[in-house]
């Protein structure tokens, strides 16, 4: 060992890098302070200090939930579940062809159909289902059908995007082997690609169904039927115990759907 000739100090960063990092942190803190000042300029502090009292007041008016309201909620709950399930099915029906058109390894035309399919996916994803429902209620009047279609249109993008990514990730070796047998295009899809994406497909569909149950519970706010409609009418007449009851029903539904989707995902892996 030639110990004498080696340095005994070591730094992760050079002095210059260290200074840059320190200045960046300083800038971030300054920005935060400045934003806080702008944000609080128009705040009426009386309301903020009063917030706990107000929350306690609403809380006391919301409690206890009005249990006798439950029977009236069962039918809208059934509507909400149907809206989520039918909407998910509609979304799957539209998303599967779109995904195969969008995936680089299955699209029949990379120049025309692939960009078109990607556009459909982006368009569907960029509009929230509440907005879709708002538009559809305006176009076709209030009711469950508008809700089903709104859920379906929003789901196309979600399912389509995840599914086309799964299709692009398939192992190409079995695909090559099936092509080598002289199989046609549709047969290659059926024998080499579909079996590889099937687990992803079920996982994605159940996941989206799970999300759709939550979303369909509030679509009634804009007139698309289901629990949201009840929520809106209860809020309008300030019937806070009923609002609590509705929130509890939504919570229970979401817990159940979460459990179902976890079971399904476990079964297919």
């Amino acid at each position: 060992m030639t110990d004498a000739s080696h340095r005994d100090t070591w730094r992760r960063h050079t002095q210059r890098q260290g200074l840059t990092i320190w200045l960046a942190w300083l800038g971030l803190v300054a920005l935060t302070v400045w934003c806080w000042q702008i944000m609080t300029r128009d705040t009426i502090w009386f309301f903020v200090t009063d917030a706990p009292t107000q929350a306690a007041d609403i809380g006391s008016r919301m409690w206890p939930p009005r249990l006798s309201y439950l029977p009236e909620l069962l039918w809208p709950l059934w509507d909400t579940l149907n809206m989520a399930t039918l909407g998910t099915m509609l979304g799957i029906l539209m998303a599967v062809p779109v995904a195969f058109l969008a995936a680089r390894n299955t699209t029949p035309s990379a120049l025309v159909l692939r960009p078109a399919a990607l556009f459909v996916i982006v368009a569907s994803r960029s509009i929230n289902s509440l907005i879709w429902a708002l538009l559809l209620v305006a176009i076709m009047g209030p009711g469950l059908l508008a809700g089903v279609i709104a859920i379906g249109l929003r789901s196309v993008g979600f399912i389509g995007k995840l599914l086309y990514e799964a299709i692009e990730e398939v192992d190409s070796v079995p695909v090559e082997a099936v092509i080598a047998t002289g199989a046609g295009r549709a047969q290659v899809l059926d024998y080499a690609i579909v079996p590889q994406v099937l687990p992803a497909f079920w996982g994605i569909s159940v996941f989206r169904w799970d999300i759709n149950i939550r979303e369909s519970a509030i679509l009634g706010l804009v007139g698309a039927g289901g629990l949201g409609l009840k929520l809106q009418s209860s809020l309008n007449v300030l019937a806070w115990p009923q609002v609590t009851m509705i929130l509890l029903v939504i919570l229970a539904t979401v817990v159940v759907s979460e459990w179902v989707s976890a079971r399904v995902r476990k079964a297919i892996i």
Binding site: R104, N105, T106, T107, P108, S109, A110, S172, V173, P174, V175, E176, A177, V178, I179, A180, T181, G182, A183, G184, R185, A186, Q187, V188, L189, D190, Y191, A192, P195, Q196, L198, P199
Partner: protein, 273 residues
């Protein structure tokens, strides 16, 4: 009889994978293709069923041209050429039987294959082949439940289900242990002998090639540098094929693999599969 006439393949990267390869394989002959990685072995057999598109030259099988076929004729030609892969290339989530029956895809229509309602001939042939490769009891298992050696047997049964006139075999034993490798080679050569089936076998294990092949072709940098009986494979010939220490060829090998992969992906995109 398979004939390759001054076959050339140049990848888009400018890599010359095959350079003026002329070769003929008569009925019933098993040819071992040896050479360092990157010599173009993989490219050569993929040119024969046009998973890789040759740049120039011609290929004929029993007098019928393979190069220059349209989509429909190419499918009809491919079903006469069985292919066996290094990593088995089974569809893992399908059953063993479905994998074997997929060898019939070139013969049956989409609806028959989609509903899995194959004709009695196809089914009895599939059972016969499973029996021949010793997997009769595994027909309804999923392919991913089998061991490596068993999977390769399914791969062999699938290729034979095509009733091929020619077998292309790409490193059949590279993923197997020495004992299983010998069993697979014995099975493969036995089946070829039974049916008088010609085969081209890419193989990097020289002793295994000498033991099982009737003829050896040595490829180096895309050119044939040896063609003869296994017994003629002396030390001198081997060092001519592999080079004493040819690091350059090894590096090219990695490059060629990447280029081949990119090329076949591009090809798959083009045919929309």
């Amino acid at each position: 009889m398979l004939e390759l006439n001054s076959l050339q393949k140049t990848y888009r990267t400018g890599d010359k994978a095959l350079n003026d390869v002329t070769l003929s394989v008569p009925e019933g002959q098993i040819v071992g293709l040896i050479g360092p990685s990157g010599a173009g072995k993989s490219t050569l057999i993929r040119c024969i069923n046009r998973l890789v598109e040759p740049t120039s030259g011609s290929i004929t099988l029993s007098g019928r041209p393979i190069t220059g076929l349209g989509h429909r004729e190419l499918r009809a030609m491919r079903r006469r050429i069985g292919m066996i892969f290094q990593e088995y290339a089974l569809v893992e989530r399908l059953t063993v039987m479905e994998n074997v029956l997929s060898g019939r895809l070139g013969y049956v229509g989409f609806w028959t294959s989609f509903t899995r309602r194959y004709g009695a001939d196809d089914i009895s042939r599939a059972y016969h082949l499973l029996d021949r490769v010793g997997l009769m009891d595994h027909a309804d298992k999923r392919a991913d439940a089998l061991s490596g050696g068993q999977r390769q047997r399914v791969g062999i049964a699938r290729a034979l289900a095509q009733e091929p006139e020619l077998l292309l075999v790409d490193e059949p034993t590279a993923s197997l242990d020495p004992k299983t490798s010998r069993q697979i080679m014995r099975l493969l050569t036995g089946i070829c002998a039974e049916h008088g089936l010609p085969a081209i076998v890419n193989i990097h294990d020289v002793p295994l090639a000498q033991q099982f092949m009737q003829r050896i072709v040595g490829l180096r940098a895309g050119q044939i540098v040896f063609d003869g009986a296994p017994s003629a494979l002396t030390e001198d010939v081997l060092s001519e094929i592999y080079g004493a220490e040819d690091w350059h060829a090894m590096r090219r090998g990695a490059e060629e693999d990447r280029a081949a992969e990119a090329d076949s992906v591009a090809h798959l995109e083009r045919i929309g599969a």
